[in-house]
Symmetry: C3
């Protein structure tokens, strides 16, 4: 049985094969490949885009999706072994997960960072508990450490524009009014490293990505021939790049400059002009216009964010098929 909760659950060859399948089915959709199959989607955090794209993938092909919105706190799951369960967590994953996996063919889990510590985010305890206890495949719909379906949808979007080339890509930190989790930039870095791209990550000092993720990306880059650089200068990081990926995330250090002093990091039309003339702009959405990214980019013909969101559907269809076929 196979799961897909972190990029390393797939070999580089499997990643390529899933991207290939996603592109083929985008042109010629398959028939009822999920006939009578049920995806149980367990949401610890709310979702619209993710839910719609996963549910549509099942429904379009004869399958079904059941959304269990456990909400923030309404149905907390205990994950510690041996816990005396007298707190506000009425059910243990040791019961919840086996029951769900008896009734579904595949289980999706969304469980964001609790903001406790980098170590806790890196451990990703909730999603690992699901993996260890489920009798059917588990697929991540974003966890504390990674958002691997988003990462692969990003790669599909890049491949559609640059085919077999290995473009120069820039992950550009963006301002925001909140300190957001790092799962999305982590997955972009990991996926682009596996693809062999030439990657520059630009962010202000004190906004470093997780050390363990950088190390994993560097290992992937050695095998793929990828190159990873880090920069504190947005303009030079974008110079001649072919893909600009803007994304906000929170500080890694208490010494980092506060979010509201970093407005110069908002990507703007003038950044597009520094990049390769054939460059594309992507972002996982939702995007705060004129805070993270200026209208002049989002409304340009180089902006591919809608295609990128649609590609979530295509990647997830190929992934679910892969997981069900290997069970």
């Amino acid at each position: 049985m196979r799961h897909f909760t972190h990029l390393k659950d797939l070999t580089p060859e499997e990643i390529q094969s899933i991207l290939r399948q996603a592109r083929i089915w985008k042109t010629v959709p398959p028939d009822h490949i999920f006939l009578n199959k049920i995806l149980a989607m367990v949401f610890f955090n709310p979702s619209l885009r993710t839910r719609l794209s996963f549910e549509a993938a099942m429904l379009r092909h004869g399958g079904h999706a059941i959304a269990l919105e456990v909400g923030s706190g309404s149905w907390n799951l205990e994950i510690e072994s041996g816990a005396i369960m007298n707190s506000n967590k009425p059910e243990h994953v040791r019961e919840a997960v086996p029951v769900i996996s008896r009734l579904a063919d595949i289980v999706g889990v969304r469980s964001f960072s609790l903001g406790l510590s980098h170590e806790e985010d890196d451990r990703d305890s909730v999603i690992h508990a699901f993996k260890s206890l489920s009798s059917v495949p588990v697929i991540s719909m974003e966890s504390a450490r990674e958002h691997p379906c988003q990462g692969l949808a990003d790669m599909l979007t890049i491949q559609e524009h640059f085919e077999e080339l290995r473009p120069k890509v820039t992950l550009a930190w963006a301002p925001h009014i909140k300190s957001l989790p790092k799962a999305v930039p982590h997955s972009f870095l990991l996926s682009a490293s596996a693809m062999g791209y030439d990657i520059t990550v630009a962010h202000p000092p004190g906004y470093e990505l997780a050390t363990s993720v950088i190390k994993e990306a560097q290992n992937l880059s050695q095998r793929s021939g990828s190159r990873i650089r880090f920069s504190h200068n947005l303009d030079s990081a974008i110079q001649d790049t072919q893909v600009i990926y803007a994304k906000a995330w929170g500080p890694s250090s208490p010494l980092a400059a506060p979010l509201d002093t970093l407005t110069s990091w908002m990507t703007h039309e003038r950044h597009l002009k520094l990049a390769d003339p054939k460059s594309i702009f992507i972002h996982c959405l939702p995007v705060r216009r004129n805070v993270e990214v200026h209208d002049s980019i989002l409304d340009s013909r180089q902006c591919k964010v809608i295609d990128e969101a649609e590609n979530r559907f295509h990647i997830q269809r190929a992934l679910i098929h892969f997981l069900l076929s290997h069970s």
Copy 2:
């Protein structure tokens, strides 16, 4: 591509044709007319009856419905162009709507009045933003200005009783404990005007319907031969009428008598006696018994509110089919 968010989206001939289709399929249901089609229902406001009737229409015929309950405030959408998005609205309709319409075949939107102003209600900004940005048909599940599916379901209910006749209908303002929006009475007035009925709208002074809606109804009535009168006297408005439609709505003027002083406007069995002996009573539901309408009407054999609610299903099935066929 066709949308249905306001009555004027359909010609009078198209309205008649949809009513005809709804009646035919009520007797002989069609087969899998929505095979593999997905309706994405975006709820800015909660719903039970509307959700159930739309979802059932898709499911009964091979299709699917995905409910996205964006709730009040949980996922506010920015609609202003050029906005600096540093408020509590994390996503712009310019991204949200194109993404939803890439994954669904038709989009339903429910977005009530925000109670800001009559002008804002009349503009119906949210639903117009969906129409302008969607690549698939948009259908209203009630907006600030109109509830056009309810309006057509009301007409279907009247047609079932009076066939080709053009009955005398009375829209009777009703008391309530809250100041309700006017979308439902607006849609009744517009639909009945398009049908050529003889309409009396009765309400207390200061409870006028929107001027732009009245003007639109008068234009429709000139083409259909309909007649529209307004009255401040409930008894005389009901005299000899064949259809009583009771409905509560809020004041249009700060000088209007307060809601709790208008209890004499509750419709009662004695009003049925003023009406034509073959008259029917309808109401869009939910109805507050013994506040808006007395038990003696709701439990009478002239009361057709359950048929009327069921007709939501029949009208929406015909409408969705019409919209999908013209895309």
Copy 3:
């Protein structure tokens, strides 16, 4: 037309026949027995396990389920006849239920005890209102008095282990941090009485089950040959038993010892040793580990709680088929 909201809605022969059907279909699943059928699930109280098992039963066999989450207070239904509806209950069951039953083929209702009084729980007004007003079968997804689908799933679990034997079963009261409703223990007692089992109910003084339920169980036991005993001693109640069913519920008397003084009632591995060596342990879930039941039981091979939860699906599939076949 048949409903299933309380155990007495079925004859003992029908109960046996449904258990038989559930076991056969567990081995050889039926085909599209619910083709195009719609189950409307009305949740006055939230649910995960119940929703998943009901929805899966419909989806696996060509049918559909629509979940209407009316939440706690968000859509209160008035049930009193003649009420003047000026409170926070905007809709009367006299409208809501007929409308739902026009659009669905079967209606599920979950409506917990409001904690007002034993008499009110016993009356089960909400679910009786649904039964009297629905034009399609009504199935309980747990009400104030009973959780009859859970009761039958418990019997199926016992039958799988003891076949035609009539085992000695013990319902063992368990500690909890909250005063829980009695619907689950009531349904276990009633179902086991109908099956002819040898039943011991063990609980602290002041934690009696409802008198009317005990009386109904005694009537059933006279026909089935069942034997019912009550005990205040957990150890002796478990001695040589073949089925231990642990379950927390609240006090019936203000003189009962407070919940937090009764920790010695937590079932533990040492209780398993008092029981028959081939005994099984069951619990309806969710279970608070090391509060209601010790890890040493829940992680033992005698613990069948996951099978029991899966059996909810099998029982409900057989029940829905039974109800639809008799409509």
